[in-house]
Structures are given as structure tokens and as C-alpha cells.
């Protein structure tokens, strides 16, 4: 029995390690989502548009570029499971959540940037997603627009 355990030890240890890491990762993801919810609630409704012109009902006497970006990594375990998903196809929910978090974070940073300059709205908002990690799936979401006031 003991010898079996000793033999299985190199196999069990990484599993325990990965299990712990994935739990930490899931907890961090929840915390980040909660943090985003809180910051979005604190800002309330801030009008942003992807229209090129000042929308009806808004007046503007100045404009300036505002930006926000965020780089998020997926985590090794998610990458590992996602590689199985690509065999059978279908939606990769874990990646979807990561990118959505990155997008919300970038958008919030852009809004915070605009608000600190006294903006009333942001127009012509554009989102850009790029893979910056080469072989590693680190995704950057970059978000920019013109704040008006």
C-alpha cells in the first residue's frame, strides 16, 4: 500500500497543485467580477456611444481622446481544458469570461479617464482585441473614444 502511494505521489502532487491553483484562480475571477460590479455601480449610467457625431440631446464644446486597456491571462488550467474543447468544438466559456472581464475593465478605465476630465459622454468608441503573448494566450483589450464636454 505504502509503495503504491509512493509511486503515485509524483502523479498526485501535480493534481493537488493544479487543483489548488484553479481554486485560487476561480476565487480571483469572482473577486474581479465583484470589483467590476461595484465600480460600475459607483459610476452609474455614463453615456458612451460608437457614433461618430455628437448624438442628439448632447451639446459639446470640446473633445479629447480617452483610452483604457487591460491585459488578462487565462490561467494554465483553463488553457489545458480549453485545448480539449477545441477537439469537439463549441463555446469555450472560460475564455469568454476572461475576455469579457478584460473588456469591462478597459471600458471602465476609459470612462474613469473621461470622468476625471469632466466629460459628459464618450463618442466613437472602438474596441480592439489583440493577442500579445505569442504562444501564451494573453489577450489585450484596448478601448478608445472621444470624450465630449
Amino acid at each position: 500500500m505504502d509503495t503504491i502511494l509512493v509511486l503515485l505521489f509524483p502523479l498526485i502532487l501535480p493534481l493537488v497543485g493544479y487543483g489548488a491553483l484553479s481554486l485560487i484562480g476561480a476565487k480571483m475571477e469572482q473577486n474581479h467580477e465583484r470589483n467590476l460590479d461595484e465600480r460600475e455601480a459607483a459610476i452609474g449610467h455614463f453615456p458612451i456611444f460608437d457614433l461618430a457625431n455628437v448624438p442628439p440631446g448632447f451639446t459639446a464644446s470640446a473633445g479629447q481622446l480617452v483610452t483604457g486597456n487591460a491585459v488578462l491571462g487565462t490561467g494554465w488550467l483553463k488553457q489545458f481544458f480549453a485545448s480539449f474543447r477545441t477537439l469537439v468544438g463549441g463555446e469555450i466559456v472560460s475564455y469568454q469570461r476572461v475576455l469579457q472581464r478584460a473588456r469591462r475593465e478597459a471600458q471602465l478605465r476609459m470612462i474613469e479617464d473621461a470622468r476625471s476630465q469632466g466629460a459628459t459622454a464618450i463618442i466613437n468608441v472602438r474596441f480592439e482585441t489583440s493577442d500579445v503573448g505569442g504562444v501564451k494566450p494573453f489577450s489585450e483589450v484596448f478601448c478608445y473614444g472621444t470624450m465630449i464636454r
Binding site: 474581479h32 457625431n53 479629447q64 486597456n69 491585459v71 503573448g133 489585450e140 478608445y144
Partner: protein, 125 residues
């Protein structure tokens, strides 16, 4: 750091309150475009710092935001923008409209940040 301020090339200009107006729309609210100077652009290719790369790799064990990369890309984008602004200044423009950004990964572990737009002369209307 606000966009449109030139800390290196324009330090003297910044002292006198010079600021290039940047927008990603075709017009600027409250301003009239009096002259279009032409296309201006700027780029930079950044390789990742080994230490940052290892740090990001460790962070990626659990996933989440890689702050080092977020900052690196932000700084690089500012640098590309400054090159674009320097070009616009040499054309005696005071604003750049329709600014676009692109990012692409080139040869393993390096990213190119590219900014372009149209240099124009504007006056408050």
C-alpha cells in the same frame, strides 16, 4: 498621462501650454478645421522584458490581470502617439483627427503598436 502632451520633444512647448488636440472622430466639437495637412503616423515595436515575462508566466498559473503588460502596452502606445504628434508638429498642425490604433504581434514575444491619423489645423468656432 493625458494624450497629446509631448514630454520629450515638446518639453519647451509643453511649458508654454502647447497641446496637440487628439480625437478619433472626423470633427472636433467646438472647433472648425481650416486646413488638412495630411496623414501622420507613428509606431514602436516593443519586446517584453524577461523579468516581466517570467512574472507574467507565474501570474498566469492562476490567470487574471497581468499589470506589467497592461502598463508596458500603455507606455508603448504613448510612445507611438508621440512620434505621430512630432510628425504633425513638423507640419505645423495643431490637431490630429480620426486617430486609429492597431496592435499586432510580430516575431515571437514582440508587439507593434501603431497609431495614425490626419493632421489638421483647427480654430475654436
Amino acid at each position: 498621462m493625458p494624450w497629446g502632451v509631448l514630454p520629450i520633444h515638446g518639453s519647451q512647448l509643453a511649458k508654454y501650454g502647447f497641446r496637440m488636440l487628439l480625437v478619433n472622430t472626423e470633427t472636433i466639437p467646438g472647433h472648425t478645421i481650416v486646413e488638412a495637412k495630411g496623414l501622420v503616423n507613428g509606431n514602436t515595436i516593443r519586446a517584453k522584458h524577461l523579468g516581466r515575462d517570467i512574472g507574467a508566466g507565474l501570474k498566469n498559473l492562476v490567470g487574471g490581470e497581468l499589470t506589467g503588460y497592461t502598463e508596458l502596452l500603455n507606455e508603448s502606445r504613448h510612445e507611438a502617439t508621440q512620434r505621430m504628434i512630432a510628425q504633425a508638429m513638423s507640419m505645423q498642425a495643431n490637431a490630429i483627427v480620426n486617430v486609429r490604433f492597431t496592435t499586432s504581434a510580430v516575431a515571437g514575444g514582440a508587439a507593434e503598436l501603431y497609431a495614425y491619423g490626419t493632421a489638421v489645423v483647427v480654430r475654436p468656432s
